[in-house]
């Protein structure tokens, strides 16, 4: 199975106080646990179950994902630029694996 690849799109610079859009994507099959293989056995559930966005270590947005989130989970969300700093994006998978990305936010 291919390693999930996370990707994030954030504007290059944002004005202080401005609302900006973030797009996040992670390649992931999101195996629901409802499908069966050719032998008839249930394919076990394996999904990304949580996505968190932290802004200078404070959680600003998060998602609880269940089986009905489509494969390659995609979120478009909106943050307010309050200070220069670090955006951290974390995806947690069933079984404990964690994928993350960091982005330095330029606030003018």
């Amino acid at each position: 199975m291919a390693t999930p690849q996370p990707r994030v799109q954030v504007p290059d610079t944002v004005a202080m106080g401005e609302v900006f859009q973030v797009k996040s994507l992670i390649s992931h099959r999101m195996e629901t646990g409802l499908r069966r293989d050719d032998k008839g056995d249930v394919i076990p559930r394996k999904i990304i179950n949580k996505f968190v966005c932290r802004y200078n270590d404070a959680e600003v947005f998060s998602v609880d994902l269940h089986e009905a989130v489509a494969a390659n989970p995609y979120f478009e969300f909106y943050l307010r630029a309050t200070e220069r700093g670090r955006l951290e994006f974390v995806w947690e998978e069933d079984g404990g694996a964690v994928y993350s990305l960091v982005h330095q936010l330029n606030v003018s």
Binding site: L34, R35, V60, D64, A68, V69, P73, Y74, R80
Partner: protein, 155 residues
């Protein structure tokens, strides 16, 4: 006699062909009835343990008709200032006709995030998708939208 048999066969085949053509006719599922809507709301009320107030402050945008149930676009937005005194804590989305009803939950932070998000979800069948927003004052707002998907995205 042969002619009679021939006529009967043709007729029977004709009837069968006509019958199957009728069965094969495409039936567009009309937007959900009031009953379907009530059932969906009742189910979510039982799941969340809350009485839900339908509100147009909460908007759930989804296509009314979509060719696949595997990746249906969804946008939801809650009007409001997102201040300490007036904000959305979380929004949960439910698909009552899916094998697993709870789809996704979003947590927002006052002053830091806007209560708007877009994503893609799986739907097993045409149904009402229901969103429930929990406000900081304890109010639970609800909205629903009918989505007619052509394929089962949960299979």
């Amino acid at each position: 006699m042969m002619e009679e048999t021939g006529t009967v066969s043709l007729t029977r085949r004709g009837v069968l062909v006509a019958g199957s053509a009728g069965l094969a006719a495409v039936v567009l599922i009309p937007p959900g009835s009031a009953t379907a809507s009530d059932e969906a709301i009742e189910l979510i009320e039982r799941l969340t343990g809350r009485t839900l107030t339908e509100s147009d402050r909460l908007r759930l945008e989804m296509p009314a008709v979509f060719p696949t149930g595997y990746t249906v676009p969804m946008t939801l937005e809650v009007d409001g200032p997102m201040t300490e005194f007036d904000h959305v804590r979380q929004v949960r989305v439910f698909a009552p006709k899916n094998p697993i009803i709870e789809v996704v939950g979003f947590h927002f932070t006052p002053l830091r995030s806007i209560a708007r998000v877009s994503t893609r979800i799986r739907l097993a069948a045409p149904q009402y998708v229901v969103a429930v927003a929990e406000m900081n004052d304890g109010a639970f707002l609800m909205t629903k939208t009918w989505v007619d998907v052509a394929t089962n995205g949960c299979a």
